[in-house]
Structure formats: C-alpha cells, structure tokens
C-alpha cells in the first residue's frame, strides 16, 4: 500500500465513509440477487461434502473466485465512480 493509499484509507475510516460505502455495496449486492446466488453456491458445496465438516476456509477458497465473477459490472462501476468523486 502506498502512502497515498494509506492516507485515503485512513480518511475514509475516520469519517465513517468507509462504512457508508460498505453499506451501499452490501445493499446493491442484495438488490441484484448476488447474495442469494452466493448463498446457493455455499449450499451446493456443503451438500457435496455432505456430513463432513466444511470449514469457513474451504468455503472461501471454493466460492471466492466464482462469487467475484458474479458481481455485476454495473455495481462495480457505480461504486468506483462514487468513491472517485468522493475522494477528489
């Protein structure tokens, strides 16, 4: 992380805007159905391993790549745009 990035990160945390952006993102991901899709992916994995204890790490490694790919471009664009206008 560069000095600039650290400062931006600190400023966002300090003002509470980091949480606000997170909340906005969370809301968008729910609205577009992303959360439900990811939940389904997790269910599938738990079912595949039926009976065996599936750890959080297993879920993270198996689900993350697919979950990332499922985030709609419109959501990414909106967030990026808003963070940019907010920072400069």
């Amino acid at each position: 992380m560069t000095v600039n990035n650290t400062i931006a990160h600190q400023r966002l945390t300090l003002t509470g805007d980091r949480e606000r952006f997170k909340e906005l993102l969370r809301r968008r991901l729910i609205e577009c159905g992303w959360r439900d899709q990811v939940r389904m992916l997790c269910r599938e994995i738990v079912k595949e391993n039926d009976g065996n204890n599936v750890t959080f790490d297993t879920l993270v490694t198996r689900v993350t790549p697919r979950a990332r790919a499922l985030v709609p471009d419109t959501v990414k664009k909106e967030l990026l745009q808003k963070i940019k206008t907010h920072l400069y």
């Binding site: 990160h9 600190q10 945390t13 509470g16 606000r20 906005l24 729910i30 439900d36 269910r43 959080f56």
Partner: protein, 488 residues
C-alpha cells in the same frame, strides 16, 4: 456446528467474560464513536507485516492485530493465544478448532454494536437475517410440514366478497395485506394487545386477517367485522352513499395508528414527539413548505407529517410530471398575501412544497374526483407511472443543493438511495356514481395479481402499468430485498 461455541471459547468466556470481545468490537469492528474510528484508522495494521489486511483479525487475549493468512496463525503458535476477532464482521475464529465459532451471546452483542454504529453514522441499520430464538427453534422442530415458496406460489392471495359496493374496502385491504413491512409485522405477531379478545381493536382484527390470508384456504373472505370496526371508529365514513378508496385508506391508517396504542409495548412509543407505531414507521413522511416573501426574501419553513401525497391531475402525463408540478415554486399572487414576520406586513410570496423525509411506503393519490358546489366530475386522463421511481429530485435537500450550486457539482448525497418500487395500484373504473374499484398487487418480485373482489387472476407488469382503469392510488415501497429463490 451448533451455536453454543467451542470448548476453547467457552473456557475463555468463563474466565474473562465477554468484556474483551466487547472492547474489540466497539473500537475496531463497529466503531461506535469518533474516537474509535480514529483508533481504527491509525492502528489497525498487521503487527507482523504492517499491512491493513486483507482479513484483519485481533487477538482476544492480548493487544495484537494481524492478517488472517499466516500472521494470526504464527501468533497463536508462539503465544498460545487461540481466539481472534475478525475486524470486518466481528466473527470469532478459534485457532485450535481451525474455524469460526458461532456463539449466540456474542452474535447478539455484535448485532447491537452494529445498530449503534449505523445510528451514529446516520446510515440504515444493516440487514440481519432472522435469528430464531429457542422457542421458535422448538416450534420449527415440532412442525414437520413445510411449504415451498416458489415463484408460482399463490399463498397469501385470497378474494374478498363484495358486501354491496364495498369494492373500495376490498382494494385497500388487498393493498395493506401486500405491504411488505406490514406483512412482516403482522405475521411476526408483533401486536400484543391489552384489549385481548374484546373485538374492539382494529390492529387485532387485521392480525386475524393476515392469518386468514396465509392459512392456505382459497375461499373468498367476508369483511363484515372489519368494515363495522372502521365505521365505528371513523364515523365520518359511515353511511356514505359513495365510498372513496382513498378516504377509506386514510381513515383505516388513522384507526390502526390509534389502536396501536392498545399494544403492550406500543403505549409509550414516541420519538421526539412523533408517534412511532408501525403505521407511522412505514407510512409517515415529512412535507416541507417554504414560503418566501417577495419583498425581503425571508423564508418561513414548516414541516408537516403526511401519510400520502395527493396529486392534481391536469391532463395526461406521468407520475413524475405530477410530482414535478407538486414541488414547483408557486407564486401566490396579490389576492393571497401572507403576513411576513420580517416585514411585519402582508406581502406577496411564493410557496414551494418539497419532501423533507421520505416514508418507507410512499402512497400516491391522483385527485381524479373534482367536487364543487356546481358539479362533481371525474378526470379520466391517463397518468403513467414507472415500476421504479427515484424520489431524489423531489426532496428538500436536493432542491436546496440545486439552487445553491452555481456549477454542476451539486453536493448530491453519494450514499442516499431514494428509489422506490411499485407494489400496488388501485384503479377506479367507470363514472363517479357508477364506478368499480379493482387493485393490482405484487405478491413477490415480478409476480402480479389482479384483485377484483372475489376474483384473483395473475397479471403481468405491463398490464399493471397500462391499466386502462386510470389509477387512482399507487403504492411504492423503498427498494428492499425481494429476491426469492426456490430450493430444489
């Protein structure tokens, strides 16, 4: 995994209590104060690699931050400290079990801090899924019967018998039954009544009605008792020849709001002088009126609560155009001078209405009926409305920002979300004295039904938006989570 934690966490709690978790959560997970945010901003870096993540955790045993991949594991080996709090979510990781541990008590604490943080930052409280309590878990175990909620379910739909020109009531009842948050309130049996069984409480009556709608039975219901109750408590409505759905809607909300006070927990529910009952929580917004004196430019502002927005129908157009007209500054003219407190004289002025706060459910009433001493008539102009509506342009803050801005950089609220989505429409067909009301309601996302007294038929969104009956009332709810998946 159950929700009673692991032996390591339980031993830790027995020895140290929940304080270490509370401190970590309040300062580094949810940041309930400015001071906490300052700590988090400056000191939440990995003690090993100096980075700010990913997946920062804090040791529960000592002051130590580290990222999940490797560095907390190193710490747990060298220091024999096994419990860590995830600083993004507040979950507890046990290095001995090598997994996150569910603990009901800590989950509950975490939730409370989250709510506090959201309130401190002025953002909506993050959605948390329903967490059944012990009684509910038991009840679920006992009840083996399961109902599958799929896009094709018709549960929650029931026709209503016409008791002789009572279609106005049927439409309003269908709308209320399909108001998302109201449904959650009533199906959650949140109204604990002091008048239990007296038969005089409308909130209790509506509670019963919800049970009837969701019982799975299909026969049409008759609403004698409900109508009688509303007429008893809103006497101005009783015995009218011509019933108006909008008037009935407002009267029903009013009686419900008054009867909410019968609730054991609702009696003293007031926040800064405003009623906080379920009706007001869902339907109340604030209408701002600014009167500007044309001589001294002094502004006098008043804010009044509202349950619906009544809009003039000037001719064919859209809901947005009606709202645009509704919030436009209007010159009051020389015939309507108002006393200016600044000038201490009667002056010409302009008046502008804007929305100061938005309700969760916005109800729009199109004023189609014109009553005057000479003539009663209905304005039958088609007014289109969108499935999704952004209310931002009609808000007080937005109007101020637009006026204040001399360039295009209006300080728009980046985090504001004022979008609404349509969930019910009430139509009036025919003439003023020989008319009939029908309603369209949304059962689930994308699933619409037409309610014509005892007849319920599936409808498409297109049909709803094009409804030839000229919408009289439309109801929009803030965009919330509506996704429904069928599990095979």
């Amino acid at each position: 995994m159950n929700d009673t934690g692991c032996i390591h966490l339980n031993n830790f709690k027995a020895a140290k209590g929940t304080n270490p978790y509370k401190i970590v959560h309040a300062f580094f997970v949810s940041c309930t104060s400015y001071e906490a945010r300052r700590y988090k901003a400056t000191s939440c870096l990995c003690f090993t690699c100096g980075k700010a993540g990913p997946r920062m955790h804090s040791c529960l045993h000592c002051i130590f931050f580290a990222c999940y991949n490797g560095h907390i594991q190193d710490h747990s080996k060298s220091k024999k400290h096994f419990l860590y709090v995830d600083l993004s979510y507040g979950n507890v990781f046990c290095a001995q079990c090598q997994d996150y541990i569910y603990d009901r008590e800590l989950t509950e604490l975490s939730r409370n801090y989250r709510v506090k943080e959201a309130k401190a930052l002025g953002i909506s409280v993050p959605y948390t899924p329903w967490l059944p309590n012990n009684n509910e878990v038991m009840a679920l175990r006992r009840l083996r019967k399961r109902r599958l909620i799929s896009p094709h379910t018709t549960i929650g739909l029931r026709g209503l018998q016409n008791l002789g020109s009572t279609c106005f009531m049927n439409c309003i009842v269908q709308t209320l039954i399909h108001t998302p948050l109201l449904r959650d309130y009533f199906l959650g049996e949140k109204h604990k009544c002091k008048t239990q069984g007296s038969g005089k409480c409308l909130v209790c009556e509506v509670s019963k009605l919800f049970q009837e709608f969701y019982s799975g039975a299909k026969t049409p219901l008759t609403l004698h008792r409900l109508l009688h109750l509303i007429w008893t408590h809103a006497r101005h409505l009783a015995g009218y020849e011509q019933q108006d759905a909008h008037e009935f809607f407002i009267a029903t909300l009013d009686v419900l709001h008054r009867h909410c006070m019968n609730g054991v927990e609702d009696t003293e529910k007031k926040e800064n002088g405003r009623c906080n009952c379920i009706i007001d929580q869902i339907f109340t917004g604030g209408l701002q009126s600014d009167v500007v004196c044309t001589s001294c430019s002094g502004v006098s502002t008043t804010i009044d609560p509202f349950w619906d927005i009544s809009l003039d129908v000037a001719g064919p157009g859209s809901l947005q155009a009606c709202l645009e007209r509704f919030t436009r500054a209007e010159h009051l003219g020389s015939a309507a001078k108002i006393k200016c407190s600044n000038c201490r004289a009667y002056r010409e002025s302009t008046k502008q209405l804007t929305l100061e706060t938005l309700p969760i459910v916005a109800s729009f009433h199109l004023k189609r009926f014109e009553h005057s001493s000479q003539i009663d008539r209905k304005i039958s102009a088609f007014v289109s409305f969108p499935a999704e509506l952004d209310m931002t342009p009609f808000m007080s803050t937005h109007r101020r920002a637009v006026e204040a801005a001399d360039n295009n950089n209006a300080p728009e609220g980046v985090f504001e979300d004022n979008r609404y989505s349509l969930f019910a429409v009430v139509n009036h067909l025919g003439s003023l004295d020989a008319g009939h009301y029908t309603a369209y309601v949304r059962q689930m996302k994308g699933s619409w039904f037409k309610c014509d007294d005892h007849m319920i038929t599936r409808a498409s969104l297109r049909e709803v938006l094009d409804s030839e009956g000229y919408p009289d009332l439309s109801f929009c709810s803030r965009v919330v989570n509506y996704h429904c998946w069928s599990y095979k």
